[in-house]
């Protein structure tokens, strides 16, 4: 039964022109689709093909292409298979449609992506900050945010070379640190 459904779905999706379809194995399907068509695809998958479980929405920042890739992982409890729908949207202005009306869990993922990547989802119920409520910097998951530089600029470090160690070193012992390792 579930095999048949899978095959039916494969046939169906292969016929649609605007999408790229790729079956990885019996349980994983990758679909690449234009951003305009993605909600329609998800509606189809959810409504007609029983992909009721939104496992995750992932955002990938392809900074060289100046694009965000959004990946919607949906799972079907009936056919036991997972469809990953990939779509790419422009980094600027970074606005996309919410799929909250189809999948309730989308609210969390979209909110998360909003604060981590600065990508805004229209129609999402809650775009308030959640994890980074007390963070004033840029969205940190963007590739152009350099965490290490920020850390070096903001925080100071524990002195790894205290007086007692210097005393030991003066006697000719201690831990040696190569100059290039000193930060």
């Amino acid at each position: 039964m579930s095999k048949e459904l899978n095959l039916w779905l494969d046939d169906l999706l292969k016929d649609i022109k605007i999408i790229q379809f790729k079956r990885k194995n019996s349980r994983r399907v990758r679909i690449d689709i234009a951003p305009e068509a993605l909600p329609a695809l998800l509606e189809l998958l959810q409504g007609r093909a029983s992909y009721v479980h939104l496992s995750a929405i992932t955002c990938v920042d392809w900074i060289e292409d100046d694009e965000f890739e959004l990946v919607y992982h949906v799972w079907s409890y009936e056919t036991n298979s997972l469809v990953s729908a990939h779509t790419r949207i422009s980094r600027d202005p970074g606005v996309y449609l919410s799929v909250y009306d189809l999948y309730t869990p989308a609210a969390f993922f979209e909110r998360d992506i909003h604060e981590m990547f600065g990508l805004y989802f229209e129609g999402s119920p809650d775009m308030e900050k959640f994890i980074l409520t007390e963070w004033n910097g840029p969205p940190p998951m963007r590739k152009d945010f350099d965490s290490e530089a920020f850390v070096n600029q903001t925080f100071s470090w524990e002195e790894y070379h205290p007086q007692w160690l210097k005393d030991i070193e003066a006697e000719g012992g201690g831990i040696t640190t190569r100059p290039e390792d000193v930060r």
Partner: protein, 254 residues
């Protein structure tokens, strides 16, 4: 001799004020009794600030049983004596930790558990975690490890007990005495309008712990931003209105 043995475990920073003997021998005995009781009854705050907290339940429960040593978990900072910082502190948590620490009644002790409290640990790259805990709070004891085992935690607590008994564990006084220093570090991280509801300066004055290090440029900045949170003393007459009139904020509004 191994060189590691030469490394002092404890950093003697200054002469501990708590250790100053009083001239009256009876008072000395009394002080010792009090310190003994303080060391044998430590209430620890129930605040899982980081992942090291996972080793606290084993230390508390049947296998290691902290209550043997008189250590009990307590719910609110008001009842607690020791604040265990169990691991990395994100900036958001650090604000709560400082709030909590200031609400604790002294003598209070801070224990930094896990390597992250020393120098950021494996999150040294992270934009979200504060690295050196002792810049923001006076830490009494570090228990290193990622994460330290329950035995290590208990051993650290026993060291603290020894310190309390001998009067050496008085870092809480340092917070009052060097408030400007700590506040400066906090302001650097949280922005200059940072304030907590606890009026540390007034408390230092109340308990006679003011030094010339207590006040400084940072506390001046604090007082500029702070709406003074005076205790609601009761009043029978018109006193209130005067205070309202002197309210600096209202003046600013005009």
């Amino acid at each position: 001799m191994n060189e590691l043995d030469k490394i002092p475990v404890r950093q003697e920073l200054s002469v501990a004020e708590g250790n100053v003997k009083r001239s009256n021998p009876l008072a000395n005995v009394f002080d010792e009794l009090v310190r003994f009781c303080q060391s044998r009854s430590m209430f620890m705050l129930h605040y899982c600030t980081g992942c090291g907290a996972i080793e606290l339940p084993p230390a508390m429960t049947s296998r290691f049983d902290m209550e043997r040593l008189g250590i009990q978990p307590m719910v609110t900072p008001r009842q607690a004596d020791i604040l265990l910082i169990t691991g990395y502190v994100s900036v958001k948590t650090l604000k709560r930790i400082i709030l909590t620490y200031e609400q604790m009644p002294s003598p209070k002790y801070v224990i930094g558990i896990c390597s992250c409290t020393v120098n950021g640990g494996m999150y040294w790259q992270s934009y979200a975690t504060a690295k050196v805990l002792k810049e923001y709070l006076p830490v009494d004891i570090y228990i290193a490890g990622c994460m330290p085992r329950p035995e290590a935690v208990i051993s650290g607590l026993r060291d603290l007990m020894g310190d309390i008994k001998s009067g050496r564990a008085d870092n809480w006084k340092r917070y009052f005495q060097n408030y400007d220093h700590y506040l400066g570090n906090q302001q650097k991280l949280f922005g200059e309008d940072w304030q907590t509801p606890t009026d540390i300066i007034a408390e230092a004055e109340h308990y006679g712990l003011m030094t010339d290090q207590t006040l400084g440029e940072h506390t001046a900045l604090l007082q500029k931003h702070q709406q003074p949170l005076e205790a609601l003393e009761f009043s029978l007459g018109e006193k209130r209105e005067k205070i309202q009139g002197e309210n600096p904020r209202e003046k600013n509004n005009e």
